[in-house]
């Protein structure tokens, strides 16, 4: 019976023939598909000049025929991929393969690169905490190799923030830090003077006048570990105190300054209700900026490129209606939090010479001019601030030049997320009407210190 059955159906030999045929067809189809649609990473667009370059001229360029692999946050696409990369390709003759990811996903991706000691990427997007987290396992120590004369031209505040335990791991391309921005129309409607408040007390007074008719005056991001810690720091830094000691071993929140900062948030959200509680679920300054650009809040602590975005009629309802100043402080005149970003080299890269050329490119005068004029971020190259084009394109840099005189530390560390999570958890409870600011500061102190102690016990420092 079984013979009968096999005689009626497909024979094994026939089956294998069909299977082989199907595999061949699949292979051909897949090959055609690859030709039609190249897989990621994308090759960055070539600059018009590069396209016109003849082969011998390209060969004479220092890195002709070589390839550089960039692995960066997707918020860089419009500037790095579309503007900086073509310039670099033209300058060096190298081909750049550009891969971008959601910036929030960088941690997960880098963990895999570090664990597998992957050499497929040469350049990584980095900021202070990524530097501290991946200094020992993924990022190349640039201290001995990066050109000293080039580094001398870069603002030393961001350079210092990209240094972990005395070694430099990232070259910052901006001096990005939060400043103050207000909506002139809403200020006028509330009967406020057209100027930035000069202290937190004045800020609170202004806010109370702006918070009318069910509207809130301002919004802070407190939606996750990073945003909560950053928001706290922005205010705390204006007390002039230090939240974590220089050696990264002691947290100092249960202090008069820590309490002052906690109390300020508590009053704004719980007592006087001028800070939008929606901020408890928002973790992105991009989303915060959208609320301002929708004309919903009167003022907030903004990154400088938010001013550039606010002047874009395609995404702003407050074009020509906003001004910038420095952040009103709690004890000092001001304080801020930094959002410095830069590029690091993969320590497993087999292409370090070209990667180093990329780092130099990011702080070159032509790229730094683009940082200021096109991106709206304060450049890291000191000389770029005096460029008339930069000054004209980004008037908000006048506020940055003033803001930079005040503390803006971010306290990047390997335990940043865990400590930030404590801030997020405890501040959320407080701002929902739970523990008092004093108890919150004490809880944060206890829990965060334990995390720090545990880390150093494991790290053996």
């Amino acid at each position: 019976m079984s013979e009968q059955k096999s005689g009626q159906s497909l024979s094994r030999r026939g089956f294998l023939k069909y299977l082989g045929g199907a595999i061949a067809v699949a292979a051909v189809t897949s090959a055609c598909g690859q030709t039609a649609a190249p897989a990621a990473p994308t090759t960055a667009p070539a600059a018009p000049a590069a396209a016109a370059t003849t082969a011998p001229a390209a060969a004479s360029k220092p890195f002709a025929g070589k390839e550089l692999n960039l692995y960066v946050g997707n918020h860089w696409d419009a500037n790095v991929r579309d503007l900086w990369v073509p310039l670099f390709q033209d300058k060096t003759g190298a081909k750049v393969n550009y891969t971008s990811i959601g910036s929030g996903d960088a941690d997960a991706k880098y963990a895999v690169f570090a664990a597998s000691q992957d050499s497929s990427q040469d350049i990584f997007y980095a900021w202070e905490t990524l530097v501290a987290k991946y200094a020992r396992t993924l990022f190349e120590d640039l201290t001995p190799s990066f050109k000293k004369d080039v580094l001398a031209g870069v603002n030393d505040v961001p350079v210092k923030s990209m240094t972990f335990l005395g070694k430099l791991y990232t070259i910052p391309f901006d001096s990005n830090m939060a400043i103050f921005m207000w909506n002139t129309d809403l200020y006028k409607a509330a009967g406020l003077p057209d100027k930035a408040p000069e202290s937190w007390t004045e800020f609170a007074d202004f806010s109370k006048k702006l918070a009318t008719g069910g509207n809130f005056a301002t919004l802070f991001t407190l939606g996750d570990a990073n945003s909560s810690f950053f928001t706290f720091l922005t205010l705390f830094n204006s007390t002039g105190a230090e939240v974590i000691s220089q050696d990264l071993k002691k947290i100092q929140v249960d202090t008069p300054e820590g309490l002052l900062a906690m109390q300020a948030f508590y009053d704004g959200v719980v007592k006087d209700k001028y800070i939008d509680p929606a901020g408890l679920t928002i973790n992105s300054s991009i989303e915060q900026g959208k609320v301002f650009r929708g004309g919903k809040i009167g003022h907030y602590f903004a990154f400088p490129n938010h001013y550039t975005l606010a002047q874009d009629p395609t995404q702003s309802q407050v074009v020509g209606k906003c001004k910038t100043g420095i952040i009103p402080g709690l004890k000092l005149r001001s304080g801020s939090g930094n959002g410095f970003e830069g590029c690091a080299i993969n320590k497993y890269s087999k292409n370090k010479e070209l990667a180093m050329a990329w780092l130099e490119h990011t702080v070159s005068p032509e790229v730094q001019k683009l940082v200021g004029t096109k991106w709206g971020r304060p450049p890291s190259l000191k000389s770029a601030f005096s460029d008339p084009d930069v000054q004209k394109a980004a008037p908000q840099f006048a506020a940055v030049a003033e803001q930079v005189k005040y503390p803006a530390r971010r306290y990047g560390s390997p335990f940043y997320v865990d400590v930030g999570q404590v801030f997020n958890d405890e501040m959320n409870k407080m701002l929902k009407g739970g523990p008092s600011p004093k108890d919150t500061a004490a809880n944060v102190q206890k829990l965060a210190q334990k995390i720090i102690d545990d880390y150093w016990a494991k790290a053996g420092g």
């Binding site: 997960a108 664990a115 000691q117 020992r136 069910g214 996750d224 509680p277 408890l280 865990d418 959320n428």
Partner: protein, 314 residues
Amino acid sequence: MGTETLVPPKASRQAIFWQRFHRMDEAKFGVLLLSPTILILVIFLVIPILYAIAMSTQQVELTISPDWKFIGLANYTGLLSDNRVLDSIPRTLYFAFFTILVSTTLALVLALILNEPFRGRQIVRVLVLLPWAVAPVVSGVMWRYIFHPRYGLMDAILYSLGFIKQYIVWFDDPTVSLSIASLATAWKGVPFLTLIMLAAMQSIPESLFRAAKMDGANVLQRFRYVTLPHLRSILIFIIVLQTIVSLQVFDLIYTLTRGGPGEGTVVLNFLTYLNAFERLSLGKASAMAILLAVFIIVLSGISLSFTVQRRQKV
């Protein structure tokens, strides 16, 4: 002479190969056909699992060093005193309980409705399947926008109906956030559960309902004494299945709340992710993943035994 006769010509060797191939018994042929799949599973499943087991006995802290240090079962014992793990257990249980409650109830109601003849039933049956086709990440984003504190559909509806005077911030409360996450998971699971229940309902002999009707049983009594007893084993299967789904939830939490507010929606599987990819404690994360996998395997075993029992009864 002997050697000449023993070595067959090339053509006849090929014939012998095909002869043997055709005579190969079913079991061997089955293994041959399965071998590509087995190879893929070994490379992408078995080896990583073994790697994770090995890693769970090591201290792998990428913020400190890329090196591995053998620490035996310390990662496992450490979990028992880890406050984050202990805090995430009741959250996970709440999430699982709420998900099971909502999804099973909704699926049962839908299956009962779809089991009755009405005009357009076929279309409704197709429409009910739609949430199942939505990717978990998309589902997370969609639910996030439904409950967004500024542009959310839920707030807009409540506001326009006059139930609220100010938009509610839904995700600033851990219990509400966890409930929304459960609701979203249940919403996605309901179509599949409805299908299973519908199939089970359609296998109940019609004569039982007729007999019950003749005995004067009303709709509720027919459900209580005929339908429900027949669905008992499938309900247990569904509960076990949904528990497993709840324990494995990650993508939805990632896109919906990212574990917030605070750690209010950090369930066990999400904590495993945080330990691995945010804290870079790969050893500890591997230990958590292994324990979770063992727990899920046990639950799957229970589920399987119920299925077998049911088949034996049938």
